[in-house]
Structure formats: structure tokens, C-alpha cells
Amino acid sequence: MLKIENLHARVAGKEILKGLSLEAKPGEVHAIMGPNGAGKSTLGNVLAGRSGYEVTQGTVTFDGKNLLEMEPEARAAAGVFLAFQYPVEIPGVNNTYFLRAALNAQRKGRGETELDSMQFLKLVRERVKEMGMTPDLLNRAVNEGFSGGEKKRNEVFQMAVLEPRLGILDETDSGLDIDALKQVAEGVNRLRSPERSFLVITHYQRLLDYIVPDFVHVLADGRIVESGDAKLARELEAHGYAWVRDRTPKEAHA
């Protein structure tokens, strides 16, 4: 589904990703862990198509298509969803209006029929209920005045409505208390399916107690230095990132 090969990317002239390779098949959950500055968020932003992230080398294909050539909105229509580390507030844009515009733009992009307001309302109400969100969320402006936890839950809620094929969670756990963390994780787990993959980018292992990944990758200095299963996350938690660096001096500091 997603195939990243030897990806190099620069931000503001500084090389952040230095040859990252990763393949995610349908239904798989990959956790990307790593210390601050390793390039975790850069990876998410490059995949979603944020401007200012310059890919200098390597390829990314999504269902065989060159993802890097696509506009952000086309990537979304193709099924890529980035849950932001810092979701933005959009005063004056109503949540329901925003989500319907997004869903219908994606459906249009895929050549599907758009949902009318009744169909859409039925859908979002179901999702609100499933996510345990308060329905008044739908009448508020996007993320305006939301707490940190509400914003993160809203990201997962949007993902539930838009039903992407690849969900990228960029430090969705940061700033969450344990209850909010559980809610977010439950939301993600509900979306797990044999057709849908996830990249769970996180600094801490804690989230992975609730979203149990199939694979764990350690990102350090712009590339993946260690891959394993869920056990790797717990080892990292016990030993710290220095442990990985010490184990892979040649690769990490080549």
C-alpha cells in the first residue's frame, strides 16, 4: 500500500530525512518511534504534502502511484489522512460544514457521488456517538476553543468520518491525559481493518499499550535504525533511545 524508499527530505535547507525506507501493507499498524529531532513529524508532513518540505531523493508510492507528485488534496482523496500534532483552529468555519466539504471533495475526487446534507448528518451523528464526542462539537467552529485533548479526539473523529486507507497519527498522544489517550486509542482501534493501515508516530511507548502495533520502527537522525515487533517499544521504554544509538553506531552516525 505505502512504499517509502530511500527518502531524503530537507526543511529550510537542512536535511532531516536521510534515506528512510518503509513499507506498510494493508491492515498493518506501524509505529514510528524516535527521539526529538529524529524526523518523525517531517515524515508525516512529507507524506501529507505540506509545502516547505523538499524531497531531494527517494520515492514514495501509494497503491503504486507516485504520492510525491500529488497535491495534498489529491493525496487525501487517494486515502491518506494526517492527524496533526498541532491541529489548527479555524474560527468561522463550522465543523459540520468543513467535514462535509472535505468528504464530498474527496468523493468527487474519487468519482463517487456526493452526500446530501441528510445523508451526511446521519453519518456524522453515528460517528459522534461511536467516538463518544458531544454532539455540540458539530455546531462549533473547527477546533476553536477546544482543549488539547478535544483537538486530538477531533482529529480521530475526522478520520472516522473520512475513512482513509492510510491514517498517519503524528504524536496524537502528546499532551493527552490517560483518559483522553484511551479514548483516542479506542477510536483508532475501532478503525483498524484489513484494508486500512496506520503509521503511528510517537515519542513515548505509552500509546502503544493501547494501539498495539504490528511493527515498531526506531527513527534516529533521519532514518530507521531498528525495526521489530511491539516488544521493541517496551525495550525502548526501559532503556531509552540512547540504547538504540549505542546498538547501531555505524548506521546512525554513518
Partner: protein, 439 residues
């Protein structure tokens, strides 16, 4: 000192001798002569006038305007132009500056509300107008106000009796239609709400695509104690039109003026809104937005004077300019000595959608009283790239995302429009007018 006789001035002089309604009334003839002379002496406002600093009328000087559209009384107007669904109350329609009884709906006005075209009043009952119209030119008047005094051929006189609440909004539609040549018209409105009266007015400007007329409107508004006026400007004049307006409002004790404006039309549109909070506890709230494209120029001047004690003013304006458009916002709050307990605020945010667009904003406070609260602020910025990316990452195409954000940016100025159909009309107009932003 005399203004050189530019084509503009010459055409105005010609208009003065072309036979205006009420001519032959000695007091009116004298007022008009006096005002025309003052105009010739003073000329059009120039950049050294603080209120005209960013709106140049140089191009106007070189233009000559016909004094009237000879066919204004019969010119046909597409129904669509006059439509404002859901606001089907009384309306007065002016086409190229001429009052059109056939297009207006003034038949069954509510008791206590009187409404008369100025031209008709001058013909039949001129004497009561003498006090209102026969003022001598004062130093504060700019050339356009003087021109209006010299040449106003029509307008509206609206009175709401004490304690009368108008149950329907009253709409004034100014229509500009292409004529053989560009026409200048000068209208004078006088609006008075008696004690405890209330009225909602919709000022609606429309036009066909290419009419390049000049409209020079001067309005005097008096709100007696406890009166409440809601005033909404919906301006979508022709893209070649020049629309210059000045409105002077006086609010007595406990009177309220609730003002909204959406300006999207015209080549050059300016509104100088002066609000005199003369009475204690008088309140003024304004919410306005302009959305400009091409080479449009729009100037919103909001000049508030707190004279009464415990008076309140609260203004929130938004400006959006794309392409090579130019916007001007000037919010001034003047608190006179003795106006203790006044509370005034003026906030203005602006959005530039292209590198060649420009918006000049000046919030200004002048305070000569104690125990006063006054706040102001202004910003000029661009659409937030981070927010645009967020919308796009959800599948919303860039152009749709831009429109969505511009609409949201202006929404705060329309939210408070009480009439739902009017609010929806404004929202639709805004959506329709949003300029395509340049990348």
C-alpha cells in the same frame, strides 16, 4: 482661491443651471448658489484632508458627467437586480438618481411612518424643509457635501412617529443602469425616528455591468431618545460605478444605531459614516466588511464622537483585497470633554490575497474625558498557510479552501444581522464575490 475649471467642475456648473426641483424658491436658490460657489472655491477633497488621505479623486477631476439621465423615468430594470428574497416590505427605488414610483412599494405604509421623495416634498411642501436644507456651508464640509447641497435633486424623507415600531424593514434601492453617457446624481436623505421609535433600513446598491455613473449621497439621521435604528448596507454597485456617501447620525439619550455593511461593488466606493453619540447612554455598534478584486477601491470611514455620558460604541470591520484592489479603513473614536463613562472600541482586521493588493487601516483615538474605556486595533495579513494546508490535507481543493477562509474571515461581520433572509442574502453575495486569490 478657485479650483481650475476641470471637466468635472464645468459639468457640475452646467448641472446647476439645468433646472432642479424646487428652483424658484428663493431660500433654496440661495442655498444652492452659495453651496456651488463654496464648492468651486474649495474643490474636491484632496489627500491633505485627513479623511481623504488614501482616496484620490484626481481621476474624477478629468471626467465630465451629464446632469441627469433623460430616460431615467422609463429605463427598464431587470427584476433580478431588485430582488432581495425574504425582504419584501416597503421599498423606494432610484434609477440613475431618479425616484421611480412604479418600481417602489410605498403604498400601504404602517401608521406613523411617512416616506416622501425629496423632489415631491420640494414641489408641494417645501417650507418644512427650509430648516433642514438651508444651512450655510460650514468649514467642516468637504466639496462633495457642498456639491450635494448645490445639486441634490432628490432623496428620501423618512419619519417614524414617537413610539412606532416598524414591523418590516424598509429598503432603499439605488440602481445604476447604462445610459448614453455617465451621469452624476446627488441625493439627500433625511431620516428621523421619534422617541422610542424603531426602524430597520436596508441600503441596497445594484447596477448593470458597465454603468460608470457617479452617485453622491448625503444622509442625515436623527434618532430621538430611546429610538432604535438598524441599518444594513448591501453594496453591489456596477463595477464601473463611483459611489460616494456621507451619513451623519445624531443619537439622543438611550438611542441605538446598529449598523452593518457589506461592500463588494463599485470601482470607487466610499462611505463616511459619522456618528454623534450626543445623548447619555446612546449606543452604536457597527459590523462591516469589504471584499475587493480587480482595481476596485473601497474606503470605509467610521467616525464616532462620544459626547453624552456613558455612551457606547463598538465597531468590528473586515477588509479583503485581491488582485490590484485597494482598501481603506479609518476608525476614529473621539471622546469629548464631559463624556465620562464612555466605552468605545474599534477593531479592524484585513486580508491581502495578492502581493499587489493594498489596504490602509488607521484606528485612531482622541480622548478628552476621564473615566473612559477605549480600545482599538488593526491588522493586515494574509491567509494562514498552515490553515490552508490543514483544509487541503482533508481533501478540500486550494481554491475552495481559500474561499472558505475568506468567508469565515468576514462572517463575524454578518452574523449579527437580525433578519435571517437578509443575512443569508449577504452571505450568498459574499460567497459569489470572493475573488480568486493569486498564488
Amino acid at each position: 482661491m478657485s479650483t481650475p475649471a476641470t471637466p468635472f467642475v464645468k459639468s457640475m456648473q452646467a448641472a446647476a443651471v439645468s433646472g432642479l426641483p424646487g428652483s424658484g424658491l428663493a431660500w433654496l436658490d440661495e442655498t444652492r448658489r452659495d453651496a456651488l460657489q463654496a464648492f468651486i472655491d474649495r474643490g474636491l477633497p484632496e489627500a491633505r484632508n485627513e479623511l481623504w488621505k488614501y482616496t484620490a479623486l484626481r481621476a474624477l477631476q478629468q471626467r465630465a458627467y451629464a446632469p441627469r439621465d433623460e430616460d431615467a423615468a422609463s429605463r427598464s430594470v431587470p427584476d433580478d437586480l431588485l430582488r432581495l428574497d425574504g425582504c419584501e416590505g416597503p421599498r423606494a427605488v432610484f434609477v440613475n438618481g431618479a425616484f421611480r414610483a412604479d418600481l417602489s412599494r410605498l403604498g400601504d405604509l404602517q401608521d406613523g411612518i411617512t416616506l416622501q421623495p425629496l423632489s415631491e416634498a420640494l414641489r408641494h411642501q417645501s417650507e418644512p424643509l427650509r430648516f433642514l436644507l438651508a444651512a450655510r456651508a460650514d468649514d467642516d464640509e468637504d466639496g462633495l457635501t457642498l456639491l450635494n447641497r448645490a445639486l441634490a435633486a432628490d432623496g428620501l424623507i423618512v419619519r417614524v412617529a414617537d413610539g412606532v415600531h416598524a414591523y418590516q424593514p424598509f429598503r432603499v434601492v439605488h440602481v445604476g443602469m447604462s445610459a448614453g453617457s455617465a451621469v452624476a446624481w446627488h441625493l439627500r436623505d433625511l431620516i428621523e425616528l421619534g422617541e422610542g421609535a424603531s426602524l430597520a433600513v436596508i441600503e441596497h446598491h445594484v447596477g448593470d455591468e458597465t454603468s460608470g455613473h457617479l452617485a453622491n449621497l448625503v444622509r442625515g439621521v436623527t434618532l430621538r431618545a430611546n429610538a432604535q435604528l438598524g441599518w444594513t448596507v448591501v453594496q453591489r454597485a456596477s463595477q464601473d460605478a463611483t459611489l460616494l456617501r456621507r451619513t451623519d447620525c445624531v443619537l439622543h439619550d438611550d438611542a441605538t444605531l446598529d449598523f452593518h455593511a457589506l461592500e463588494v461593488g463599485g470601482k470607487l466606493a466610499r462611505h463616511e459614516l459619522r456618528v454623534d453619540l450626543a445623548g447619555a447612554r446612546a449606543r452604536f455598534a457597527s459590523r462591516g466588511a469589504f471584499v475587493l478584486d480587480g482595481r476596485q477601491h473601497c474606503d470605509s470611514e467610521v467616525l464616532v464622537t462620544h459626547r453624552g455620558r456613558d455612551t457606547l460604541s463598538d465597531s468590528l470591520w473586515r477588509g479583503v483585497a485581491g488582485d490590484r484592489a485597494r482598501g481603506v479603513v479609518h476608525g476614529r473614536i473621539l471622546v469629548e470633554p464631559g463624556a465620562d463613562g464612555s466605552d468605545g472600541s474599534f477593531y479592524n482586521k484585513n486580508l491581502l490575497l495578492s502581493p499587489t493588493a493594498e489596504i490602509d487601516t488607521r484606528p485612531a483615538l482622541e480622548i478628552y474625558a476621564d473615566e473612559v474605556k477605549a480600545n482599538h486595533g488593526a491588522t493586515v495579513g494574509q491567509l494562514d498557510e498552515g490553515v490552508l494546508f490543514y483544509l487541503r490535507s482533508r481533501g478540500i481543493p486550494l481554491d475552495v479552501a481559500r474561499r472558505m477562509l475568506v468567508r469565515a474571515f468576514c462572517a463575524v461581520t454578518l452574523d449579527g444581522i437580525r433578519s435571517a433572509p437578509l443575512r443569508e442574502f449577504c452571505e450568498a453575495l459574499l460567497a459569489e464575490q470572493l475573488p480568486e486569490a493569486q498564488a
